[in-house]
Symmetry: C2
Subunit: 162 residues, 2 copies
């Protein structure tokens, strides 16, 4: 299986988040070609700041392997990991991270900074970006456009009631 | 209650970790003077890279408030937060972080970098360090000294058996 095949599984996860009005972000952790962790953003549903897609996938992968060390794993994420998720990648020693869309506002795996290539940490990861970029990016663009339209409609309806 | 009083509760948590052979690090989250989250390092016990003291305390605090936004909370930690925990503080929007011992090798709330005062993130936190510094620091020094002694003794016993 190639990178696109695994990224499609992360995109499947992102759709699960979108279906319940969460920002559509998904991730999978792959160990020797086998998917051992899946996750999608559940921050609002769970009302928990740590329920990002990557964290959910890392939690599941650790439980599967019975180890906090994910040293032979690859993480696929539809969006560039944030500061917390980049930190969790360092902590779990994942050696390869592959993401779809860049996050110029909050991405810490290359955009704002690259915490996965910080010589002062005891772990560094190889980062490959842009896999299924357009699809990953479109997921978010569509979600936020629909959200804005919904809010505008609600505002309009609110004004009509006054 | 003052900072020392809450830090003592974080130290209590650190002792719980030490008692089960985990690196003794503890944390509490305080909301308007009430402790709503407690946590200690459980990385080895849980075999999960995210089971740091601060993460456990943040998870408990979010569950208590039913919200991922910990905007009126203070986090106390015996050791300077790592890259992941500093990230979780940013994600949970905790405005004040108070820690005991500095971590020159992995601390990301002032030592290696300060992720809690990064102008490009949408959240920044005030950091106060050095509260109960000696006690927090001694916890770790003692733990690692005893670990080294134990390993030396095991090595010596191993050599005697050869």
């Amino acid at each position: 299986m190639n990178h696109e095949t695994f990224m499609k599984l992360a995109i499947e996860e992102a759709h699960k988040a979108g279906a319940i009005a969460e920002v559509p972000i998904g991730a999978v952790v792959v160990h020797h070609g086998e998917v051992i962790g899946r996750g999608h953003n559940l921050r609002e549903t769970g009302q928990n700041p740590t329920y990002h897609a990557e964290m959910m996938a890392i939690n599941e992968a650790s439980a599967h392997l019975g180890s906090w060390r994910l040293e032979e794993c690859v993480l696929y994420a539809t969006l560039e990991p944030c500061v917390m998720c980049s930190g969790a990648i360092v902590m779990s020693r994942i050696p390869v991270v592959i993401y779809g869309a860049h996050d110029p506002k909050g991405g810490c795996s290359g955009s704002l900074m690259n915490l996965l290539n910080e010589p002062r940490f005891n772990h560094r990861a190889t980062v490959i970006s842009g896999i299924c970029h357009d699809e990953c990016s479109m997921l978010l663009t569509t979600f936020f456009r629909e959200l804005r339209q919904k809010k505008l409609l609600e505002k309009k309806r609110g004004n009509e009631l006054i």
